[in-house]
Chain length 178, copies 2
C-alpha cells in the first residue's frame, strides 16, 4: 500500500458509524455520518496555497483530496449536526516512500491548519500522527475490503502518553465518485 | 514485541469499554466489562490437555494464560450479564518467531475450542485470525501505553470478505496480578 493507492481506494462516499470512548469518565458517544472524499487537482489554488504555507514545493504534492463530513451525535440534542470540510495534501518522503507528511487546512481536533506525519505498517495500515499545541492525534486507517474501512483515532495529551478520547469508525462505501 | 512480552503486559485486571457496530443494520451496542488475565503454569493440566487436543507437544507452549470476563451490555435488559472464561495457549512458530498458533478451549464467537493463527505487525500490534466452521474472527490488539490497550475485533463470514460485526474495546489496567 502506498499513498496513491490509499487515496484512490478512499475516494467516494462513505456511510460512517463512529463510537467514541471518553476515557476519563468511561463514557460512550455514538455518531452517524456521511463522509465524501473527492480527488483534487494538484493545480487547485487551495492545494498550491497550502503547500506554500508549509514551504513545500507544490510539485511534491501527491493525490491531494478533499474530505467533507456531516453527522449526528447522540450527545448533543440541541445541536446534533457535526459538519465540516478539509483539504488534505500528502507529501511523500523522497527517500522513504512509505512515509511522508500530510498537510491539511483544518484538523478534526483543532480548527487550525496542521501537518501530520504518516507512514504505512507492513499490513497496509495507514498511521497518521499530528502534534498540535495542546494535544496530539493518532489515527490508523485500514481497509477490510475495498468497500469497508476502519479508523481508530486517539486524542492524546500533548506529551503523548495520556489518551483523552479513543474512537472507532466503521465506514461503508455507498457510492464511488465519478 | 513478541508473545512473551505481549502476554506479560496483558496480565492483570482491565476495565473495558467495548462498542460493537452491527454492520447490516448500522446498530451500536455498548458493553462495559471487567477482564481478568492471569498467567498459568505450562504444567497446568488444562494447558497440557489443550495441547494434546491439537497434537501439539506441551513443551512448545509459551506463556499460557487464562482470561475471564464479566460485563453488561446495553442491549439485553433482561439478561445483561455477559460472563465467560477461556484458557489460551500460544505456540510460537519455531522458524518465524513473531508468528504462531493460539489454542483456546473456548472462543468468544463460538463456544467451541479453536486454534487461531497470530502474528505481530512491525509496530507491535498483535493480530489473531481464527477460522470457525461458519465464521472467521480477526482481532488486533495493541498497547497505547503499559496501562492502556486497544482491541478491534471483526466477526466475518466464513469466506472472510463480509464483516458482520466490528467492535472496538479500550481497556484500562486497574490492577496488576501478583
Amino acid at each position: 500500500m502506498d499513498i496513491i493507492q490509499f487515496v484512490e481506494q478512499s475516494i467516494g462516499q462513505w456511510r460512517s458509524q463512529r463510537s467514541a470512548h471518553h476515557m476519563a469518565f468511561s463514557q460512550f458517544e455514538a455518531v452517524r455520518s456521511i463522509i465524501d472524499i473527492d480527488m483534487l487537482s494538484s493545480n487547485d489554488p487551495a492545494v498550491v496555497e497550502l503547500c506554500q504555507a508549509y514551504d513545500v514545493e507544490p510539485s511534491r504534492a501527491v493525490s491531494p483530496f478533499q474530505m467533507k463530513w456531516e453527522g449526528q451525535s447522540d450527545w448533543d440534542e440541541d445541536n446534533p449536526e457535526v459538519k465540516g470540510s478539509t483539504i488534505l495534501v500528502p507529501v511523500p518522503d523522497p527517500v522513504v516512500p512509505h512515509r511522508g507528511k500530510l498537510l491539511r487546512d483544518q484538523g478534526y481536533a483543532e480548527t487550525i491548519a496542521a501537518a501530520g506525519e504518516y507512514h504505512f505498517l507492513d499490513d497496509g495500515t495507514f498511521v497518521l500522527i499530528t502534534a498540535y499545541e495542546r494535544a496530539a492525534a493518532e489515527e490508523r486507517i485500514w481497509f477490510a475490503n475495498p468497500n469497508l474501512r476502519f479508523r481508530v483515532s486517539l486524542i492524546k495529551t500533548s506529551g503523548g502518553s495520556g489518551v483523552v478520547t479513543a474512537s472507532f469508525s466503521s465506514e461503508i462505501k455507498s457510492s464511488k465518485a465519478e
